[in-house]
């Protein structure tokens, strides 16, 4: 066990993957010499070489498009998109090629490409650096979409993503990069929770609180605050946004009868909509209240001095929890 930041945990996970499989590569803007703007790839080029860790030209479609070609050749590229807001130039390659190739070829072409995307707000950044575009990819069949929430899980998840034979969009909660926690770097990967399963991070009985990425910590804090008030909140970290682990979610809601979902992305047509719709279908007779969603407003991400009002925080999440008890 070592205490690592989330950024460092990812770095260690990447390193282990690079060391264990000569086909694994890292590519992206500033990932080599600089080690990435968040230092997630720090030191990897120095130790593994320029052929394994590639500083690319400044072109996101190029990064994903050439990664696809490298994957066709048998490589397992891990692409870094520097910030969430810069993934859009790569949309066509992701949606039309990366996601569809296995289906198109009836399984003859696998594209084990990982696209790492630091996502979400809360770091006081300028425009385009705080987006949460996960639902674009969750809606796109053929991709796996996951989000890590803490160092230990990040360490395992990045390795699982690289080992997956499917393309994985890997979201990293950028404002949690410097969160520290114990990570067991000696544990075998086979012991890790599979990539497509949710995990209950705080058990409870009165209401189910679902989240992923940066808000998992906020939800945990909310659960602790609620505990103090005598309300027992079960917090589930979804981890996989597509496919979704509905077994875990439904079992919890069937028990609690209430459900709240929190994410930073706009509520409108966000991932919470899918979860709410599905939970309602599967738990119709158990629900004491409609599934409530807490998330961003139907506006572009605002400037830094307004983001505290945009981002769901502990109070807004507890407010939604309270509202489900008003039914």
């Amino acid at each position: 066990m070592t205490r690592l930041t989330l950024s460092r945990a990812l770095n260690e996970g990447l390193r282990r993957s690079l060391e264990n499989d000569p086909k694994v590569m890292i590519m992206g803007e500033d990932v080599g010499k600089l080690g990435g703007v968040f230092r997630v790839t720090d030191g990897l080029q120095k130790d593994l070489g320029e052929h394994r860790v590639v500083d690319t030209p400044l072109a996101e479609s190029g990064i994903v498009g050439t990664a696809i070609g490298l994957a066709m050749r048998g490589y397992r590229p891990v692409c870094e998109i520097q910030f969430d807001g810069f993934v859009y130039p790569a949309t066509d390659q992701i949606v039309s090629q990366l996601a569809k190739m296995r289906y198109r070829s009836k399984g003859k072409v696998a594209l084990p490409v990982v696209i790492r995307i630091p996502f979400g707000g809360g770091i006081g950044a300028v425009e385009h650096h705080s987006e949460s575009p996960e639902v674009f990819f969750a809606h796109t069949a053929g991709l796996r979409v996951v989000a890590c929430a803490d160092p230990a899980d990040a360490y395992a998840m990045i390795q699982l993503a690289i080992a997956s034979d499917d393309p994985v969009i890997f979201f990293e909660p950028k404002r949690r990069y410097w969160d520290k926690a114990e990570v067991d770097t000696a544990a075998p990967l086979s012991a890790a929770l599979p990539l497509d399963q949710a995990r209950t991070v705080h058990p409870g009985n009165d209401v189910t609180l679902l989240s992923y990425g940066p808000l998992v910590r906020t939800c945990l804090e909310a659960a602790l605050a609620a505990d103090a008030d005598g309300r027992s909140v079960e917090v589930i970290d979804l981890r996989s946004l597509s496919p979704l682990d509905m077994a875990t979610v439904s079992a919890s809601v069937a028990r609690t009868g209430r459900c709240v979902i929190a994410h930073e992305a706009p509520v409108y047509a966000g991932l919470g909509a899918e979860i709410a719709a599905r939970v309602t279908e599967q738990c119709f007779y158990s629900l004491e209240a409609p599934v409530l969603r807490v998330g961003g407003f139907a506006i572009p991400y605002p400037s830094a001095r307004l983001e505290e009002h945009y981002l769901p925080d502990l109070d807004r999440i507890l407010d939604a929890v309270d509202r489900t008890f008003a039914y």
Binding site: L70, Q97, R102, S105, K108
Partner: protein, 361 residues
């Protein structure tokens, strides 16, 4: 800048000497045969579409030399990334034509193993494959393989797409062993090349720092020689080349297109005089490298190919409904790889089962 077009065989079938573009041991009869066969394959497919057997077909008529010439320059280990009109390249790579027919019939979306014939799946989104080809070439570099190169096919219209420019930039920066083969067939559906570029397309390469060359795309020998040279340079670590094969799309863009809306019959007639097959036939006849028997035999082969293809097309079974759910994800056991999809599959199977029961009642 002047526009020099490399030509080794005139429209009249006269050889032009170009020591800078050697032909080596070239099999001109084989080239002729390939061109005749792919033209026939193509016209049979058009006929099948007209008869409602295919959903669509993109004819290569007029582009036989560009495709056969360039494809024959490939070594067995070189990898080709086509667009959606490269039936002639597919043929030369040994892909059974019925694989193409399946796709245009709508039986599947183009399902073959790219490594088997070193011919990748068709790409319909314009330009996307240019980056795949470049990435694949970067993989060859990492494998330190010295006798492999990649060729990426696309059209004149594709040169406007950002992805194609990005591919040019990447290939140049990384010195990737890839040849960009642009068939300038004078049209992107209805748009002329002037809508894509103010200067001849081959010149685009120079701005990215690698050579560009224009070749007579209706001259199979020139297409062969120019591509061969570029592939060799790529394999020798000299980086990418852009080849513009100047040719003409004699048919419609696809079977749904009506070219009379945007071009004159007289233009088509003028290009007919530059037919890529006729000039080789003239050459072979004049030099007596082939006689009437040969030409007849090739025709007979073409007839047979067409008949076989038609029969194969008509025999294609529709895919079973439940195959809808296969191969979305890598899967272990009987699952689809996604619990969400498993649920949808089960529900749909039950739904279809309901009809079967109704029918049985």
């Amino acid at each position: 800048m002047t526009t020099e077009t490399i030509q080794l065989l005139t429209p009249e079938g006269e050889r032009v000497e170009r020591p800078d573009y050697p032909l080596g041991d070239v099999d001109i009869r084989g080239m002729y045969r390939d061109m005749v066969l792919v033209r026939r394959l193509d016209s049979e497919a058009v006929a099948l579409q007209r008869q409602g057997e295919l959903g669509l077909w993109a004819s290569l008529l007029g582009q036989e030399a560009a495709q056969v010439g360039s494809a024959r320059a490939l070594s067995p280990r070189d990898m080709a990334f086509p667009s959606y009109r490269e039936h002639g390249v597919a043929w030369c790579r040994g892909l059974p034509p019925v694989r193409l027919i399946e796709m245009f019939r709508g039986v599947n979306n183009g399902t073959w193993d790219p490594e088997e014939h070193k011919f990748h799946l068709y790409t319909i989104v314009i330009g996307d494959q240019a980056l795949h080809a470049t990435g694949y070439a970067m993989g060859i570099q990492r494998d330190a393989s010295e006798d492999e190169a990649v060729i990426a096919y696309f059209g004149d219209g594709a040169t406007s797409q950002g992805d194609v420019s990005e591919a040019f930039g990447w290939a140049a920066v990384f010195h990737a062993p890839v040849v960009f083969f642009c068939q300038n067939n004078q049209f992107a559906i209805s748009a002329p090349p002037e809508r894509q570029s103010r200067v001849p397309i081959y010149q685009r390469a120079s701005g990215f720092g690698f050579p560009g060359v224009r070749v007579d795309g209706n001259d199979v020998l020139a297409c062969y020689a120019v591509t061969r040279k570029a592939l060799r340079a790529a394999r020798d670590g000299e980086g990418p080349t852009l080849i513009e094969a100047f040719t003409y799309r004699m048919g419609a863009h696809t079977t749904t297109d009506d070219p009379t809306r945007y071009r004159l019959a007289s233009e088509v007639e003028a290009w007919r005089l530059r037919d890529p097959i006729e000039r080789v036939r003239a050459y072979l006849a004049r030099t007596r490298e082939a006689d009437a028997a040969f030409f007849e035999q090739v025709e007979a082969e073409a007839d047979e190919l067409a008949a076989t293809l038609r029969a194969a097309c008509l025999a294609l079974p529709d895919p079973p409904p439940m195959s809808l759910f296969d191969h979305v994800y890598a899967s272990a056991g009987g699952g689809s790889g996604s619990a969400i999809l498993d649920a949808e599959r089960e529900q749909y199977a039950a739904y279809l089962g309901g009809f079967a029961e109704e029918g049985a009642e």
